[in-house]
Symmetry: C2
Subunit: 231 residues, 2 copies
């Protein structure tokens, strides 16, 4: 018996990685004069990973990492105008309309007719609250939690606080690393809805998941009601 | 009868504004060559306020606002090395040791012997979790909540979730704007412990507070147990 269903936000309900990807494209154009033969994406990712411990996830952290990478890779030749363009690209991400994935509203409606539904997002609280507000989905969840890292402990705390047994909890999300692995480890169910793009940091070997008895994989949220009915 | 006591973190349990202030001093030094006759603090504050809607509170937001202000005020003459120094100043804030105010550990111990205690912080979730971890106080609270804005609605939600009546809740903090006004408005008690420095954004006219029947003001957390005993 399912007692609680939780949705992830980024790349599960609304497009997110595509916005980062677009900004990174703009960053590559800006840095073109300075980075002959350097893999800019790799260098930016290395900066992001180095900063993760201090900055956490989100657009502000990403913007700071772009500026740091630009200064390093250009040997401090990057101009203030170019850095202003990077700042501008970061702001644009925060102002970018939140675009829902196909079938989201219908899926949440159908699931919430059967089960209590909540939202569990990760990363920068301000970014996530702003995206939820812009998504228009705010009223559709009985509760919303934002955690700094989606690990086993974070899910455990959320379930404890609600008195829900892991075996009666289903997490729905695009990220094997954040939505699937920790929930399965806890004894909960996971419905995996992969997104066409995955940030390198979220990429893991997914081969072991397919045979897990509490793992389900769907290609679109429109398949969700029938999958939940089978649990 | 008090059923729940909550502490604020920044400038109530640990020094915070002093770290911002120190960084702003460094920023003034860096910008000295570019800002003849301009009030740099005012300009930085104006940038922060303009960005608040998009960035929220916290060190990353502050660092991005310093960089933006530096580019604007210098008419884009600021160098990449100088921007790297601003980035470095931001990182230093995040790595700065968390220094507890006097009497904090003893006050929490004495209060938690009598009442359930929690922590309610505001702003960047990652900053706040990191500060709590570095403060060594993590295990002393029954629960911790971080909200993007400490308004009446935020406190209301926290109390509702715990089934606590506002009249049986006491909030302790340094900020009249964030810790006192919204809790009094909700019908709760507020113990105000002013900090020597107040960020301009948190400054409000406090004259009306003194006569409020559920307002208490102390100069140090060591006065807290006796004040709570009188409620």
């Amino acid at each position: 018996m399912i007692e609680l269903v939780a949705f992830d936000g980024d790349d599960t309900l609304w497009h997110n990685e595509s916005v980062f990807s677009m900004t990174q494209e703009r960053f590559r154009e800006l840095m073109q004069p300075y980075v002959k033969g350097v893999d800019l994406d790799d260098r930016l990712f290395a900066t992001e990973m180095r900063n993760l411990r201090l900055f956490g996830y989100g657009v502000k952290a990403f913007t700071l990492s772009m500026i740091e990478t630009a200064i390093e890779l250009s040997d401090a030749r990057v101009t203030a105008e170019e850095i202003a363009s990077i700042l501008h690209a970061g702001r644009s991400m925060l102002e970018h309309p939140v675009e829902l994935l196909d079938g989201v509203v219908d899926a949440i409606e159908r699931v919430s007719a059967q089960h209590p539904v909540m939202l569990i997002t990760k990363g920068d609280l301000f970014d996530q609250e702003s995206k939820l507000a812009r998504s228009g989905l705010g009223d559709r969840f009985e509760s919303v939690e934002n955690v700094s890292e989606k690990d086993e402990r974070a899910y455990e705390r959320i379930l404890e606080r609600r008195g829900v047994d892991p075996g009666q909890f289903v997490m729905i999300g695009n990220s094997a690393r954040s939505d699937v692995v920790p929930t399965l480890a806890l004894g909960a169910w996971a419905v995996h809805v992969p997104y066409p793009l995955t940030w390198a940091h979220e990429t893991i070997d997914e081969s072991a998941l397919a045979t897990h008895e509490r793992y389900r994989r769907i290609t679109s949220l429109s398949d969700l009601p029938s999958v939940l009915a089978s649990i």
